[in-house]
Amino acid sequence: MNKQNILQIRHLSKTFGKNEVLRDIDFSVKTGDVTTIIGSSGSGKSTLLRCINLLETPTSGEILYHGENIISLKGGAPKYRSHVGMVFQSFNLFNNMSVLKNCMVGQIKVLGAGRDEAQQRAMEYLNKVGMSQYIHAKPRQLSGGQKQRVAIARAMSMQPEVLLFDEPTSALDPEMVGEVLSVMRSLAKDGMTMIVVTHEMDFAREISNHVVFMSNGVICEEGSPDELFLHPKKQETADFLSRFRSE
């Protein structure tokens, strides 16, 4: 199967003031890939993801989307973002809209879809995440797991090519983690291209076909889940993983 590179990150660096958060990051994502980024807190995982969605402007380097560098693309950020969905740790659902509106507004205002079409697609994905009963609810009336499932439906209803997850289960109560992970699992099964920043090691190992381990702003090691989890080449990776094993 000949897979195409959707995203290529080239020599990406990001500094906040004098603080160097990302250094010379290099990796690619192919169609249908599920890439998980793991690493301890403060290693730059989330910043990397936010750079990929241009919520942070990289200090240097390139992000190639279908071979085109999107950083130098003037004023193209909104259009690019409509192809690259993002799911946040803190959900970030629009508090002033119902669940259904949350999933429709982007389609109507950004993609220019008609109301009926937008509603149909929103319902399709809300069904998929098991939230179609709650379309009239406002975000404040939902539990964390429900909010995150709606957030996934909102991102999916834009029909993105890549979906980014920024620690989607970190803000959830333990009993709600499962429902979100199972939604992500089924997206992965459908062939969705995903980049997932997560602390759920078992999930990362199960779902992904590529794992990136970050430490102190650089990619320390990357490879297939089996390689990385069972036979880590670097001592840092092994140390990091052993902290999860001991639990």
Partner: protein, 279 residues
């Protein structure tokens, strides 16, 4: 007791003779206050959108200069109109136009009054809106950006509706302040309630009874406005509970149907479910 009886007869007498004047004065007051507050809000919201346009060092120089100038203009506008008395602003604008045009152009007093109160309210609202926008969690903006919205769309559909809800009490404040403070517009001859009161006392010398009438009318206007704005607040908050929507045909008989693709007119009853029932 006798004095109160006298007051009552004086008030009744004044009302009988001049009620239409009081009422038309009150109408002018409320019209000016409501319209100027609305226009002021629009000015404030516009300033809010313009002030929060994101700027980065990597932007091209033309855009950066434009944004800097824009911010400076808004800043000056806010400081000048917040920092001087409205009564003076009225005189200033009313007489500035004929002065600079050598009497060729004269401002009518009615449009001048609307203009002055609107831009005065706008100056306060600009700061209120700015604070309101800052109070909205940055996650809301990021959520909107992540689905591809630009700054204008983010503001219009996500941030400002929430801002508006948060600053509604302040808008109510402004409206009530305007109802009272438009009385200074008598200085350029705008005949609102206070001007009517002044006119009537000039003709009848019944200062106190007329003041009683004006007080009561002002109070009625402000209380009604504040009640209406509270109603609006509640409406914006929406219902406490939400309807469950279902495609399960068995559930249709239970009346729990409010599915968007079905016609609403099919007579199905909607059952309100409290949030507590769901858990």
């Amino acid at each position: 007791m006798g004095t109160f009886f006298d007051l009552f007869t004086d008030v009744a007498g004044l009302w009988q003779k001049y009620s239409s004047q009081y009422l038309s004065g009150a109408w002018s007051t409320i019209k000016l206050a409501v319209i100027a507050t609305a226009v002021g809000c629009i000015i404030g919201l516009a300033c809010g959108i313009l002030q929060t346009i994101p700027h980065a060092k990597t932007d091209n120089p033309v855009k950066r200069v434009l944004l800097t100038v824009l911010r400076a203009v808004i800043r000056v506008y806010v400081e000048v109109f917040r920092g001087t008395p409205m009564i003076l602003q009225a005189v200033f604008i009313y007489f500035a136009v004929p002065y600079f045009t050598k009497n060729a152009v004269r401002l009518e007093m009615v449009p001048a009054a609307y203009l002055v109160v609107s831009i005065n309210t706008g100056a306060y609202m600009a700061e209120t809106v700015r604070g309101g926008i800052l109070s909205i969690d940055v996650g809301q903006t990021e959520g909107a950006k992540s689905i591809g919205m630009n700054h204008f769309q983010t503001m219009l559909y996500v941030v400002l509706p929430q801002t508006l809800r948060n600053i509604l009490p302040q808008i109510a404040n402004n409206l009530i302040i305007n109802i009272k403070d438009t009385s200074v517009m008598f200085i350029i001859g705008y005949s609102e309630l206070f001007a009517v009161h002044k006119g009537i006392t000039g003709a009848t010398y019944k200062y106190f009874p007329s003041a009683v009438i004006a007080m009561i009318i002002y109070l009625i206007m402000t209380i009604v406005c504040s009640a209406l704005l509270r109603l609006w607040e509640n409406k914006m908050d929406g219902p406490e509970n939400f309807d469950i929507a279902t495609t399960d045909t068995l559930a249709h008989t239970s009346g729990m149907i409010n599915y968007p693709n079905k016609k609403k007119k099919n007579g199905a009853k909607r059952r309100r479910l409290a949030l507590g029932d769901l858990r």
